[in-house]
Amino acid sequence: MSALELESVRKSFGRLEVLRGIDLGVAEHEVVCLIGASGSGKSTLLRCVNLIEPVDSGRIVVEGAEITRRGVDVNTIRRRIGIVFQAFNLFPHMSVLHNVTLAPRAVLGRSRREAEAGARELLARFGLADKGDDYPDRLSGGQQQRVAIVRALAMEPQLMLLDEVTSALDPELVAEVLEVIRELAAGGMTMLIATHEMGFAREIADRVCFLDEGVILEQGPPAQIFTRPREPRTQQFLARIVAAGRM
């Protein structure tokens, strides 16, 4: 059973059609990277998987259960899928620890002790052990983003969606976040990652998908996509990336 299946997913905002028939499958423990220009639909795709945006047509199946069916309990689905955004979106009025334990306590019904123990363990694992009682405003961007990832992990999701999670960071802070993602992948987490970090995608992805104008134009192992892309538009895109010195 694959972790995630998208079949002919379409999504429009008003008259603008952003996703024009996405077909994608992600196997368990697989790491799939989405690359493409801004506006190609990467973020929208991820937000559809998490049901933040409702799809206009098509099916999305998570762990064998169709989540685009009518009457599905959205909150239950979201417990199984973790998503981390470009803009961290930590809750500023809560400490780091509280940010991480809020959902396990409120949604999973964990006790405070249990949730905090789990949270501290996760924070320690990703180098944030002494930040538990700090408020987000005292953290650097890289630290905040790592907390955001920990916050999503605390719910023990089966699938992690990462939406350009390093794009808002100063360059010197990107590495610490990539390290976290690397570790998650090594631990077998199924991940769908939208990213501009081509070098990282090349290193970590099992498969790379190039999104162009709302469809997956080309997909394949990173070695193939980055060195021998078949489609002209893929080639153009990669050429621009190289010219910008980002690969």
């Binding site: 979201r78 803009a87 500023p92 100063d170």
Partner: protein, 285 residues
């Protein structure tokens, strides 16, 4: 090792303190001109032809001393009224603000009701609502309906101020970036949980200054309950004034009202300062 956040904060503080008056000479000039202006004003007033009469009528120390104790005692009723009213206002207004934010056509009647309620009670002058409720409701002579003027004064003030405060809350709720709610929902929190744990705590903190404004307004408007006959501070000061034809008791009542708002205002300033720092994180790129 200072974190990036610390460094950012220090830079901000340094920038701000330069603007706010590191310049001693500028401060001296403004202080001097302020003093000069007020001295001029004081001179103009005390040399006005009617000044001796006004001073005796409004600033009679003997009158102030003799009327102050009973006005202060009457002021306890004002305190009682706004303390009770404020508890209800703060909670009911939040309820109404949440009702107004419920999405979807199924909730339209509730939203419409909330809008109509807020429009009506913000539109009618406070003193009219107090008079109509305070005299009208007991006149219905319904069983089990209290006739106490304090009761109806509180009810009227709650109705009016809930309308204002609900609008303030609503502005606060709408000022919380939707990405906060999105983040909460994506963790699996229900709409209600997201509201309760993430949106409302932030919304309420943001609107502390206008909330305080409305609370001060409420404290002052308790004086209007006097028209229902209850002897609160303003009514008592009027009684004293009318008995002696001297207006100084009005000043005594005014002094009491001002005295309670000052600590509240300073406390709120402290709250805002503490919260401004927290707000710098969680902003959306």
């Amino acid at each position: 090792m200072a974190s990036e956040g610390d460094r950012r904060a220090d830079l901000e503080v340094a920038r701000r303190s330069r603007i706010l008056g590191g310049d001693a000479r500028a401060v001296g000039v403004s202080l001097a001109s302020t003093i000069f202006f007020f001295a001029l004003l004081a001179f103009a007033i005390t040399h006005a032809p009617g000044w001796p009469e006004v001073r005796q009528t409004f600033f009679d120390w003997h009158e102030f001393k003799s009327s102050f104790p009973e006005i202060a005692r009457a002021f306890l009723l004002n305190v009682k009224i706004f303390s009770i009213a404020e508890c209800f206002i703060v909670t009911l207004a939040l309820l109404i603000a949440v009702l107004r934010s419920l999405p979807g056509p199924v909730f339209f009647p509730l939203r419409a009701l909330a809008i109509a309620y807020a429009d009506f009670f913000r539109g009618v002058p406070t003193i009219l609502v107090i008079a109509i409720l305070g005299f009208g409701a007991p006149a219905l002579q319904l069983k089990h309906v209290p006739t106490s003027t304090t009761f109806w004064g509180i009810v009227a003030l709650v109705l009016i101020y809930t309308a204002y405060v609900s609008e303030v809350y609503r502005a606060g709720i709408e000022s919380v970036h939707p990405s906060q709610e999105a983040a909460a929902r994506s963790l699996g929190l229900s709409r209600g949980q997201a509201l309760r744990y993430v949106v409302l705590p932030q919304a309420v903190r943001r609107v502390v200054p206008p909330l305080l404004n409305d609370f001060i307004g409420l404290q002052k408007d308790t004086a209007l309950v006097g028209i229902l006959g209850a002897i609160e501070a303003f009514n008592q000061s009027q009684i004293d004034t009318d008995a002696t034809f001297n207006y100084t008791p009005y000043l005594a009542a005014a002094a009491l009202f001002v005295a309670i708002t000052i600590p509240l205002a300073r406390f709120t300033d402290a709250l805002i300062l503490r919260d401004r720092r927290r707000r710098q994180a969680g902003r959306v790129a």
